[in-house]
Amino acid sequence: MAMTITEKILARHAGKEEVHAGEFVTVTPDFIFGNELGTGLAIEGREELLQKRGIFDTSRVAVIPDHFTPNKDITSAELSKTVREFVRRYHVGHYFEVGRMGIEHVILHEKGLVVSGDVIVGADSHSCTYGALGAFSTGVGSTDFFALLISGQLWFSVPETIKVVLKGKLSKWVTAKDVVLYLVGLLGADGARYKALEFHGDGVRSIPLSGRFTICNMAIEAGAKNAVFPADELTIAYQKGRAQRQPVYYEADADAVYCDVIEIDLTSLKPQLSCPHRPDNVKPFAEAVAGKNLPVDQVFIGSCINGRIEDLREAAGILKDRVVHPDTRLIVTPGSQEVYLQAVEEGLVQIFIKAGAVVSTPTCGACIGGHMGVLAGGERCVSTTNRNFRGRMGHYDSEVYLSGVPVAAASAVLGRIALPEELQP
């Protein structure tokens, strides 16, 4: 029987000829990882079991301290220390210390530790990001991560797949972020619950890998288990000289079974805004703003969804020879040290600093209201991140609008939620 990409990858990793939606499978992932928070909780109180069992395969495990690092307070420093000691004691194969790190979902594909055809499981919900490579990639909690650490195995139900057909090509100032915001708005927060999203159509080719990572990253906001792009020449080119293992490319069978089909016309898509306080509360920009003056206290550009070099180039293109509005703070956080260095070498960091922005070390801090950009009560933020739940970036009474990079950068200059078209040339 015909299979989707997700079914093919899970079948291969379960040692079966074929599997189909609804079946339970036990798989051995090619790669697993956790950040300092998920890992810290995973190993809490389980030292004895860990000592007895050890780690199933240290070469397939990464630990990335990225959420509250550089440590935001003593409690976080103690947790980072505990996690670091665990990494050393059990010889975890891949550890990215402050100064050599990146946000987990930016650094793992950048370093080629995850590749096409993999099953990848991370102790973080945005682990669905790597589906962009044509992999099965999903997030779990800390106990599942611990079970994976000691056993190398985890059970899953094979998800049904929603086929998402992308047609045409995005217009100027419309980004991959707008595609996924639109999709999440269309599906709703549980529209893809327990399901896979699989992308098709001529529009796929027009979206570079950076944009595919952005799109897959936010699949969880529609409740999806995973999201997957078919591998093409762009995928192959991206992994060349980067992949640490041999990628395996899968494509869906022509007569694979889908539970639903959604078409998105990229050509006519307009910039989208996710309004407070739910990621799926998405409206076209024009409708969300509707001519209102919505002053912005803070703009954040970065995170695992929009912290790649392409995003920073886009922001710099708008901020060059312009300055941030006097009543607004702009925080730019490169997704990894490699992205940061490249931004320095390309002169992007000079543009940000001259514009009056702060450029920070890679961290998840601002996105989760942890540190490096926490909001006060009554403040409004335009953010290129993926969640705007109440209190997500700080005070219970702060509000967050999610957008693509062009809207964020234009809003920083104009001091209100704005489109790049509104800027003086």
Partner: protein, 164 residues
């Protein structure tokens, strides 16, 4: 506990309660149930923990526990002594995390019928939820055997340890 039967007072929540609402990210550097319980549901309603008592049954609407995979969220509920969570539906990762921690999570399409303050009896073995205040009883799906055993053991790690 081992029979998976709970009687408690209903504490109502709405649709789409996310894990940031259950346990704000700023507390993710805490790792014990007691420490996390001090902040439970703080981003849902800052004073919610004051009306939440050990043995209470949380009743929610659609997609409870959506968003972040933080297991700190169900652990905070467990640390607060929540006996069981009933919802119209659960987000995937939250459901898995709860079972793994031994926190019973019961899907009931009619969850909206269970009103704040009602006394409810949940019998996971029989697959029944009884609203003792209204006198109505609802059928719920039985847990697969392995999940019931995990819940009885108090989570998947004790379950694995008991097996050896």
């Amino acid at each position: 506990m081992s029979e998976l039967v709970f009687t408690g007072t209903v504490r109502r929540l709405g649709d789409f309660v996310d894990t940031d609402a259950i346990l704000p990210a700023k507390y993710l550097n805490l790792t014990t149930p007691e420490a996390l319980a001090a902040h439970v549901l703080e981003n849902h309603a800052p004073d919610f923990r004051k009306i939440l008592h050990a043995g209470d049954i949380l009743v929610a609407g659609r997609n409870f526990g959506c968003g972040s995979s933080r297991e700190h969220a169900p652990l905070a509920l467990k640390g607060s002594g929540v006996a069981c969570v009933i919802a119209e539906s659960f987000a995937r990762i939250f459901f898995r995390n709860s079972i793994n921690l031994g926190l019973p999570v019961v899907e009931l399409a009619d969850a909206g019928q269970l009103a704040e303050g009602h006394t409810v009896r949940v019998d996971c073995g029989a697959g029944l939820v009884s609203d003792e205040t209204s006198g109505k009883t609802y059928k719920v799906a039985l847990f697969p055997d392995f999940m019931r055993e995990i819940l009885k053991a108090g989570g998947v790690i004790p379950y694995i340890e008991n097996q050896r």
